[in-house]
Symmetry: C2
Subunit: 311 residues, 2 copies
C-alpha cells in the first residue's frame, strides 16, 4: 500500500512528520527542531517542503497538522472548539490552508474546557494533546495524563469524546526554577536519585497546599546537606509532580484504589509519573508512542481527506 497521508505534529519547539499509508501504518518518520517559534518570518510552507518535499511529490498525499501550528503564533489560527468534543466533530472543523500546486494543509482545531467557579469562568486550552488522545483507544470514563511542559489531565467520554481537561504547569515550573531561581544554585548534575524523588512526592502528596513553601526546602536541604547536590533536581521534580498528582486526583475525583490511568508522553517522564501515582495508590500504564500520527490519521479519515483501507 502506498503513502496516503502526511501527519504533522508541529509544536512550539519541534516538528515531527510521519508518512502513513491508507491503513494508518507509519511508513517513515522525520523530525526537526523547527518548532513554530523557530521558523523565520513564519515561512511554514518553506520549512514543510524542505523537510518533506520528496514525500509530497505524490499529489495524492493529503496533509494534516496538529499542535501549536494552529495557534495565534502559528501558520493560521485554528479556532478552539469547546468540550465535550468527539474526534468526529473535530474532523468537521479542520482549517484549510491552501499551498502551492493545488494542495492544502488541514489544521486540527485546538480545544477549550471551561469550568465555572464561584466568581467567574476559568478556561483551559490544548493544542496537539487531543490528537494524541484520539490516537489511543481510551475506555469511556477513563483518564489520560500527558506529562510535559504543560501537563494535561484529560477525562474521556463516549465515542472518544474529550469531556474535560486541565493543565498543570509542572514541567515549566521545573525548568524555570532550576534555571532562573535560587533553587538552581545548589543543584548539580548526576545520576537519578530515586530516594530524593520519592521524598519530594511524599511531601507534596501529604501537603499539596504547601507547594510554595516546600519548594524552599530544595535550598535548605542543600544548605544543610540533608540531600546531596546531585539529588536536589530529583527532589524538586518529586515536589512538583507530587503536588500535581495530589491536586489532579482530587479535581478529577479519582478513587485511590482500582483506578487505572493512562500516560502518554516521553517514556522516562511517564515513568516518573507512574512512580508518583503508585505512591498515591493509583496504577498507571504508559501507552505506546506514535499516537499523534495515529490520531491525525483517524481525523483525516473522518474528514474524508483520505479513504481508510480495511485493515
Amino acid at each position: 500500500m502506498g503513502a496516503s497521508l502526511l501527519a504533522l505534529d508541529w509544536g512550539s519547539t519541534n516538528l515531527r512528520a510521519g508518512l502513513l499509508d491508507q491503513s494508518g501504518r507509519t511508513l517513515a518518520e522525520r523530525q526537526q527542531a523547527a518548532g513554530i517559534l523557530q521558523v523565520p518570518q513564519r515561512n511554514f510552507e518553506q520549512v514543510l517542503f524542505a523537510l518533506c518535499g520528496d514525500w509530497l511529490q505524490d499529489p495524492s498525499v493529503a496533509i494534516i497538522a496538529s499542535g501549536m501550528i494552529g495557534s495565534r503564533q502559528g501558520w493560521v489560527e485554528a479556532p478552539y472548539l469547546a468540550t465535550p468534543i468527539t474526534p468526529t466533530a473535530a474532523a468537521q472543523a479542520l482549517t484549510r490552508i491552501p499551498l502551492r500546486g493545488d494542495r492544502a494543509v488541514y489544521l486540527i482545531p485546538g480545544i477549550r474546557s471551561t469550568v465555572h467557579d464561584s466568581t467567574e469562568h476559568i478556561d483551559d486550552v490544548m493544542r496537539g494533546e487531543e490528537t494524541q488522545v484520539w490516537g489511543a483507544d481510551i475506555e469511556p470514563g477513563s483518564i489520560v495524563v500527558l506529562p510535559g511542559t504543560h501537563s494535561k489531565w484529560v477525562h474521556c467520554g463516549a465515542d472518544g469524546a474529550i469531556d474535560r481537561f486541565q493543565t498543570w504547569m509542572t514541567g515549566e515550573l521545573f525548568a524555570v526554577l532550576g534555571q532562573h531561581s535560587i533553587l538552581g544554585r545548589l543543584i548539580e548534575p548526576g545520576d537519578p536519585s530515586e530516594g530524593a524523588f520519592t521524598l519530594g512526592v511524599q511531601r507534596t502528596l501529604a501537603a499539596p497546599e504547601a507547594l510554595s513553601t516546600l519548594l524552599f526546602s530544595v535550598r535548605t536541604a542543600g544548605l544543610m546537606s540533608r540531600i546531596a547536590p546531585t539529588a536536589l533536581s530529583d527532589y524538586l521534580s518529586g515536589l512538583l509532580i507530587g503536588a500535581e498528582v495530589a491536586s489532579a486526583l482530587r479535581r478529577f475525583n479519582v478513587p485511590r484504589e482500582a483506578a487505572q490511568l493512562s500516560l502518554i508522553g516521553e517514556p522516562s517522564l511517564c515513568d516518573r509519573y507512574a512512580r508518583a501515582l503508585a505512591i498515591a495508590g493509583v496504577q498507571a500504564q504508559t501507552l505506546p508512542s506514535g499516537l499523534a500520527a495515529r490520531g491525525a490519521w483517524r481525523l483525516a479519515c473522518a474528514a474524508g481527506l483520505i479513504r481508510a483501507a480495511e485493515v
Copy 2:
C-alpha cells in the same frame, strides 16, 4: 548625643547603612546597590569604607551587620543558631571580623528552624529578617509576616524569642514566572488592577492545593480576554499571595477572626498582603520602617558593643 553605632543591613542586592546615636535614634541613612552578589572579589571592606568612611572617622562608632553578608557567599559565614532564639542569646553569638585600624564588624547570626515530618527533617533559614523582628515590639504569641522575594512567617514567644518561622517563595515565583515562563508573554504593564488581584487571591484561598494549575489560568485568562493584559500581573500576584496566605494560616494555626498579624516590609507589598489577609478574614497592621537598624541597635546594646543611653 553623637554617633554611636553603624548598623548595616546587607542583603543580596542592597546595602543599607544607618548611623545611630546611643539612644537608637537614626542620625543619617545611606543606601547603595552593593548587595553581596554585586561586590567584586568580595572586597566588602572597601565597599564599606567607600560608602561610610566619613562616619567611621570617629573611632568610637561600633559596626554591626545583619543579612546575607553573614552567608557562605558573604564576608565570613556566621553560623545559624537554632530556634527558639532570643535577641539576648543572638547577641552573645556575634561573629567578629577584624578591620583596618583596630576596628571590627560584628555579624548577627542567621537562624534555623527545623520541623520534623513523618519522613525526615525539613529546615528553614533566615538572615536579616530576625533583626527586623527584633527591632519591633512584638507581643508574645503573635505572628509577624515579612513579604518579599522569600516571604517569611515568624511566630514570636516570650522575651522577643523567635520560636519558629517558615519561608514561602512567593516573590521569587512571581519574578521568574513573569520574566521567564509563558505566563509573561501576555502580561503588559499598566495601572494596578484591584479586581484582578482580588480574583487571584480568592481562587487560591479557596484551593491552595491547585496553585500549579491555577497559574496556567494567567495564560488562558489572557488568551480568552477574560482579564486585560495590563491586569494579568496583578492576577498572578493574587494567585501566589493567596496560596501563601492560605497555607501559612493553616500551618501557623491562625484563627480567622480576632487574629492580628504584623507586616514588615516594603509598604506597597505589605498593602497587598493586608488586602489578601483581609479577604481571608484576618486583620493585619503594617509596622513602621527602620526596624533593621533598631534591631541591630538592640543587639549591639545587649552584646555590650555600645552602652545604651536612657531615653
